[in-house]
Subunit: 486 residues, 2 copies
Amino acid sequence: MTSTAKPNNAASASNTEPPRPLLSRETGGSLIAQIVQLVTARIDDKLLRTGARMPSIRQFSDQHKVSRFTVVEAYDRLVAGGLLESRRGSGFYVRDRTPMLAPRAQRTNTARQPVDVVWLVRNMFRQLPPQKMPGVGLLPNEWLDADLVANALRAVSRQNLPLQYGNPQGFLPLRQQLQLKLAELEISATPDQFVTTLGVTQALDLVARHYIQPGDTIFVDDPAWFLMFGSFAMLGAKVVGIPRLPDGPDIAQLAELAALHRPKLFVINSVLHNPTSTSLSAAKAFQVLKIAEQYDFMIVEDDIYCDMHPGTTVQPATRIAALDQLNRVIYLGGFSKTLAANLRVGFIATSPEIAKHLCDRKMLTTLTTTEITERVVYRILSEGHYRKHADRLRNKLDAVRDKTVRQMERIGIKINISTPAGMFVWTDVGCDSNALTERAMEQGYLLAPGSLFSPNQLPSTNMRFNVAAMADPGILPFLEREIGQS
Amino acid sequence: MTSTAKPNNAASASNTEPPRPLLSRETGGSLIAQIVQLVTARIDDKLLRTGARMPSIRQFSDQHKVSRFTVVEAYDRLVAGGLLESRRGSGFYVRDRTPMLAPRAQRTNTARQPVDVVWLVRNMFRQLPPQKMPGVGLLPNEWLDADLVANALRAVSRQNLPLQYGNPQGFLPLRQQLQLKLAELEISATPDQFVTTLGVTQALDLVARHYIQPGDTIFVDDPAWFLMFGSFAMLGAKVVGIPRLPDGPDIAQLAELAALHRPKLFVINSVLHNPTSTSLSAAKAFQVLKIAEQYDFMIVEDDIYCDMHPGTTVQPATRIAALDQLNRVIYLGGFSKTLAANLRVGFIATSPEIAKHLCDRKMLTTLTTTEITERVVYRILSEGHYRKHADRLRNKLDAVRDKTVRQMERIGIKINISTPAGMFVWTDVGCDSNALTERAMEQGYLLAPGSLFSPNQLPSTNMRFNVAAMADPGILPFLEREIGQS
């Protein structure tokens, strides 16, 4: 093997053995792969040492009777793999392999960290088995349709790919599909009224940055999605919670607090509110809009759970945007819950004028979003697959939710909402849910205690469960033991 | 054809004709496509009117001897296409087709708009032929390698696709490749020191939001990339330009202005600076770093043009990060210029501690970036294709640049930089370049006048040309006429 990668550097290897046929056209993969393997093995075995110069492309090619192209390709792979380095005008050398640091080891016991928003957000990204994470806000992979996404991505890869920045407002055919989607919800919006975003998270960030100066007040539901508390605090906003009742916000409180705080925005989940999975009644929607008009604030209607709702003929749900038609309401949606959070496709629907402002702001912060994933979502919507997929998800959720709710009630967990719906069940576990969360983490379960959803992080006995993410057989017995003891 | 889509709604169509075999298994595409076509044709011909109820799935299936699955699929496509609507529990109806608004017509004559940053940014997204846009900052599509990107995307679509959020710091194997890339530049960084971003634009936004409070000062090169002026102004920052000389910033000015303004950040292109394509000398790099230490500000080294530089053995270029090793320097890079801006893959390299803060900030503003495009870039890097592609781009740029520079000199355009490099040529056209830009737009050419790159938008006779984007045979004659007249 000495000759395979015979270094010109005399110090690094013996030069005396005659060349042997080390590369074979018959066995073991492509010639390129064989060269890569041979050189790698020699470096691993320290037969080729750091700093040794490799034979030139021509020398290697002549010696082993392979084309120069093959050698170039192999050397390039070795460079890309970090084994060789190319010094311009001088040749290829065995590189110094400073050991690649593994990603920092995941701590398996984080029980000693305080339970707070940062704690939960970081834990959302931990490598726990999905069936052990009733605290997360996404469906596990096996609930989603990886083939649906992969097929659409494959189709997109066969089209003319977008290489330039693309349209800052988003891929036009996707915005046309969104127009149809909103029309079904009785919200009328033309394609120029949409701006695509990296999920609802970026949508909220863009809207908040447009409206909020430090010291301004934003209203949110109480409880509500915790990530936005941090996002708004970062802008210097004062975040005030409006108590959420089963049919929507507490209207008396909303009016009183609006008079007191004069908020700029009210961010609300009208449909399948996170974490309670309750939806807005028509009367409440009207009252919220009237108060917004009276005190002149904008309503940001985050409808990310839209497609988990069975439809208004089955269960009441009113979108304020359907009453207001995007004058005072900025409507947000996306596909993270139903298709794949990793696509990062969300959107804003608003008046054409505000859309223009938000689009300018998007350009200044991320220029555009990638059209590749927007084309994936467009295909899935336009080919009619999305509707069926959402139907399947709802049916599956219904079955699992009913079963899980019964099991939870049996072990003494109180269900706070009389008609559970969607992905989340909002419960009262009858003990400090922060402490319960810490004990669960010791057992490898991620829970989402009520304090996280409180704008003031107040401890409580409430707990949000994702019914799709608690298939692990140990969870309910664990909860039963813990709740029984408390 | 009447019976194909026989409405139950008696008002909408005749019911008297017997069924005819309208669907064929032998001819003309799938049965699903045939149903879609038939129904579409009937709606277009007003044989099926708005509001008409479609036959139920079962009726249609029985009548036409096709499976219910086929009918469901066809109806779904018709719904997705906006021709039918589904009313839950009631069936399918022909929908009201409010005409879909075309995107707002592109104005072909924007000469009357003032030339400013917003003007140029909006025009960057216009549908002009790429060879008529010497003002843009990207390579035209035909310079890029669409197959390289498409093949990588296809390979990614065949893997297990990421459906959950993914790692907020970015796809780990990509960060390992970035470690290798930076090591070649003598910058040592482990994977936990990287955060992926939506291009350098998001990287700058995250860094600025982390360091800047309203009223703080940011130093930039003068001239510099215009988009960040708007981005920083949005944060309430004061943007101060440091005059750029051929080998880097004017050091005396930098020291004086640093003492005066006490900036938080200095954003600099060390290598192939936009718009001058000049690179930092070693001495200047050292002096900038010393002043940053003395006045305690961070250096944000935007190295987006990195791979267009021929290497330091060919042309001097020093990265401050190579001296400082990511203590006081935050290094930014990306693949928008060489692979495809639409992938939106950029990155930050910094100390592990700052990386953690910036990652938290990324989570609050966009949660994660999509791993799909990060996997595409990973494949292209790890398989060794990237290096060759960048080599080809550089060779091609060298050839075009030399020719273009000679042509420009011949018609009286002065080249400001003695050794042109990279993609941009920074020139003096000898007349007000704003006025020239307006006249060019009337002829359908997009230029980039010097005023855009000035932190104070000062008018000047300077102009940036992208040598890859001026293949149109009319450009040089136009410039010659205009410059001759002035």
